[in-house]
Symmetry: C2
Subunit: 265 residues, 2 copies
């Protein structure tokens, strides 16, 4: 599952997402970080585009750059009308899906740079509920506008395709994780994934926040809360991590990787 990531990861892990070419490009870059999506969104959305082109489109697209959610605020509800995608700037979001039997499961966590709301594209209604796990600021991308730009600018179209395909791949990896790995391996994989995400954002790879509750985490990983807790404390006893509750979590990457790889067969 990490092998598959390595390709996309490298792209966005470059020192600065896009190399600066000249003064004008630099100017565009400044404008962009000032008022629009900011650097965070670059890796996801506009990686291959020249800066000036990109920022021109950005200005067309972004409706708001300062929406702020507080803990437990919902960004959209399951069943509500879909009209925009959202880019997380800071904080964190979880998405939940409730089925006909009332069973609810956490379908994803979204961190700075991630795009939330793709699920609504199909039917025009959101199939999940998005909730802030923390104080979170987001950008809004009205989808109609995005579609329009996408049809005018092939690169944008392609990137929307890619972003969606990425989501599909993410889900596939998670499916493989849930269906074929032990609870211990799943937790290890989850922490490694957060670590990777953290280092992609130029933050420490071995120390990051766990903004979600244990319940959410367990639910996301398809196990009971108790099981998750036990595994976390076991990992702590084995010096694989040091956790401060919901606070920062420092991990032994190699150790966790070993856990993940072990018991392969």
């Amino acid at each position: 599952m990490q092998a598959a990531l390595s390709i996309t990861a490298k792209k966005s892990a470059l020192p600065t997402a896009i190399p600066l070419r000249n003064d004008s490009a630099h100017a565009a870059h400044t404008a962009c970080s000032d008022c629009v999506l900011g650097k965070l969104c670059l890796p996801q959305l506009f990686v291959t585009m020249p800066f000036d082109v990109m920022s021109a489109h950005l200005n067309t697209l972004v409706r708001s750059n300062k929406a702020v959610l507080h803990r437990k605020d919902t960004l959209f509800h399951q069943g509500s009308n879909f009209d925009a995608l959202y880019v997380v700037r800071t904080g964190a979001i979880k998405t939940c899906l409730t089925d006909a039997n009332g069973d609810t499961s956490v379908t994803g966590f979204y961190f700075p740079g991630d795009i939330v709301g793709l699920d609504g594209i199909n039917t025009g209604r959101h199939t999940t509920t998005a909730v802030a796990l923390d104080t979170t600021s987001i950008c809004t991308l009205p989808f109609a506008a995005l579609e329009k730009v996408a049809s005018q600018v092939p690169d944008v179209q392609r990137h929307v395709f890619r972003i969606m395909a990425q989501e599909i791949q993410k889900e596939q990896r998670r499916l493989l994780l849930l269906s074929r790995k032990s609870a211990e391996q799943r937790v290890a994989a989850f922490l490694l994934q957060l670590s990777r995400h953290s280092s992609q954002r130029r933050l420490a790879a071995d120390s990051f926040k766990l903004p979600m509750s244990r319940m959410d985490m367990g639910n996301y990983l398809g196990m009971a809360v108790e099981t998750l807790c036990r595994i976390m404390t076991r990992f702590e006893r084995q010096q694989l991590l040091q956790s401060d509750g919901r606070g920062v979590c420092a991990v032994d990457l190699d150790g966790l990787q070993a856990v993940f790889d072990s018991a392969a067969e």
Copy 2:
């Protein structure tokens, strides 16, 4: 036990795998109206478009209308270059994903009208391997051409978005299934899904083929083959289904739905 023959009866020993090129647009068009993408693909790809507009685009898109795969032939390999999407016309396809530890899981089954290969859009390489479960004919949609048409025709663009979003939703439902439902419920849900798919194609809702092996089925549902077998025989004892091995399977829809709903919490 009876309808199955109509599909398998076509034993024409056609050469395989490598798509044939259509020289003339006219040929493509005719073939198209006949049954190429035919009605099967309409629901998925061109639902909202007038027929004449649609078929004009189809001519641009469809490279081959008669690629035939036999049992165990692969349509594409994990890691191979992505350059086209494929529409299943008849038969069935499974996609498999192998992770770094060599663990393989079946990520999906695709039936007539379904579109295979979306996973490759992100990186330009397929992340799964697609294998025919049966004699299967497919259409090839070169992705570059599709992108081009999509950027010229907003409706097409929107439909590609939708198809991808649909895939995301499908995976999400499966995730919920795997992480929160018992093995029994998962099997019931799987059979109900096949039933729905079958009736969508105007075929009997309560009787359909199971073209995949028990192993594939179990793998797909995240359980051991033995578990799957036991559940199948249990269902049979309970008159919830009548199975002819890999052949046709007749099911009691209400009964299965009851199993699925039961044990809600």
